[in-house]
Amino acid sequence: MSAGLAAPAVRRTQGRPNWRVITRRETADLWISSKGLSVLFGFSVALAALSYLAAGNAAINLLDARESVAVVVKTSIGLGTLAALVVSADAISGERERGTLEALLVTPVVRRHVVIGKLLAATTMWVASLLVALPIVLVMADGPGVVADAVAVLFVTGGLVAAALTALGLAVSSIAMSNRVSLAASVTILLVLAAPSQLPAVKASGALGALLIKANPVSAGLAMAENILVKQQAWSDQWPYLISPVVAAVALTAVAIALSGRLALGDSR
């Protein structure tokens, strides 16, 4: 068999959906290795502890039952997003540091398929977090009778925020020259985005404050959870809070894919 100037024995892969192969492998790596399970374990412990506190406070009337559900839902969204962000922020810079990126880049896989595959694999972290959070939310939301709203907020709002932040982590990972920088930058951005929702002064600062909350995908998502679960506002009134999470999810995914063309090893010379 001659592999000389004849066409390679392996057929051309241009246009083939190689992102599926990458997603499968990355997902398997995430969950076979200890990384995915460790992050999920941390998420589970933190959520369980916070849910216990919220339920306890609700039981002794320190916290309204609806508020306790909102706390658990918002925590699930925040921590689940953080978990997915940590995974995606490691996806490319981690490979670069472990020396496995070059072998991947010299395959005929289109670069954007590499990014899409890794993005989908990182999203499984959010899905796993969701599955852990779901029973807790179901139990807690049953009392005040907000099961449907709580689950919907978790899936819709949480899904959008997680998608946006997972894409952000991947975008940062593809340009960061070290894994540590990628993780630090991604988590810092998440904390900065989440900060406004923790500041009562901003909430109370009128139209500008409300605009800032709505413009920030994380604070908008968390505010929407509060509005629906605690203030019992109608879903139809909440669409302004969905704009920034939707825009961020789409835009950051597009940015991550656009940056795929610039994937580099980082030590070129």
Binding site: M1, S2, A3, G4, L5, A6, A7, P8, A9, V10, R11, R12, T13, Q14, R16, N18, V21, I22, R25, A28, D29, I32, S33, E95, R98, G99, T100, E102, A103, L104, L105, V106, T107, P108, V109, V110, A264, L265, S268, R269
Partner: protein, 321 residues
């Protein structure tokens, strides 16, 4: 782009230049290699070898010049990547996977179905002596990882195989085994192999041609003899004769060689400087034997690739070890 014809070289680079900002890592590098040929790409650290390989494997953009791999221009990177196999110097491995699942993954990336990729993975693992190993890669020794890396680089039956220090960390037996496998691949499969190595003895042994880089440029290119000739390094021989033959040997040698001196520390020892080229030593031996003078020892000094390398790059012996 479609491969053009059998007369085309498997690898052809013309005036290839790679720049990182203002730094020029490879400057107007022109190199050619045919199918079934093993090309040694040599040079001291920082000479630009890795940059040339990364440009030819579409990892870094080319600043100027052109290159074709298996008939595909670098402007069609997907086609180029489908035609090449690469074993980088600092290749990492996913420790949690088994060798088979690792190779299967790469087989699928090259367009094989999962079943075909599994069959190909088994074949490649068998060829590198890892066929019976079902452990995780994290348990593999350095040598096993190198062999796995080679199997991965060959998973697509590449037309051009780029190897950056493939024998690094291998014991002498492992080095011999790997080099024999490379030679087999070049001969049997017609694979063009580009081998970067600091081990000049192994390069001299397996490479059909060598190109030496220094300060981002190719300073010599050709087969080993041609490169030695280009370097202008003269070979020398240390001969030792029976004391009764020394005078006759001196007479024969003085008529044939440029310089001759006696080794004061070894009675019967004579050191001579040979003309460039490997034929010179056989000529000397023939002359002596024709006169009935049989040297007790014949020790060729210099005119090796390593000497040419040092002469062309101005590096010390330690840099080639």
């Amino acid at each position: 782009m479609v491969p053009t014809g059998v007369s085309d070289p498997a690898l052809e680079a013309r005036d290839l230049t790679v720049r990182y900002g203002k730094f020029t890592a490879a400057d107007s590098v022109s190199v050619t290699a045919n199918s079934g040929e093993i090309l040694g790409l040599l040079g001291p650290n920082g000479a630009g070898k890795t940059s040339v390989i990364r440009a030819l494997t579409t990892i870094v953009p080319v600043s100027a010049g052109t290159a074709r791999i298996n008939g595909h221009d670098l402007s069609d990177p997907t086609a180029v990547r489908a035609s090449i196999g690469v074993l980088p110097e600092s290749n990492g491995y996913p420790g949690a996977q088994t060798a088979r699942s690792y190779l299967r993954f790469y087989g699928e990336l090259f367009g094989l179905s999962p079943r075909e990729a599994g069959i190909r993975a088994d074949r490649q693992l068998g060829e590198v002596g890892l066929g019976d190993n079902h452990n995780r890669i994290s348990t593999f020794s350095r040598g096993m990882r190198q062999r796995l890396g080679l199997a991965r680089a060959l998973i697509n039956d590449p037309a051009v195989l780029f190897l950056d220090e493939p024998t690094l960390g291998l014991d002498p037996a492992g080095q011999d085994e790997l080099l024999a496998q490379l030679a087999h691949n070049a001969i049997e499969n017609g694979t063009c192999i580009v081998l970067c190595s600091h081990l000049l003895d192994e390069v001299e042994r397996v490479c059909d041609r060598v190109a030496i880089m220094h300060n981002a440029r190719i300073v010599a290119d050709g087969n080993v003899d041609e490169v030695i000739t280009t370097s202008g390094v003269a070979a020398s021989c240390k001969l030792r004769f029976a004391l009764g033959d020394v005078v006759a040997a001196e007479t024969v040698l003085r008529a044939s060689v440029a310089s001759l001196r006696f080794d004061e520390t070894r009675p019967g020892g004579i050191e001579i400087e040979l003309a460039t080229g490997n034929g010179a030593r056989t000529d000397i031996l023939r002359l002596l034997l024709d006169k009935g003078i049989e040297p007790r020892s014949f020790d060729l000094q210099g005119a090796r690739l390593s000497d040419a390398f040092r002469a062309l790059t101005g590096t010390g012996r330690e840099s080639t070890q």
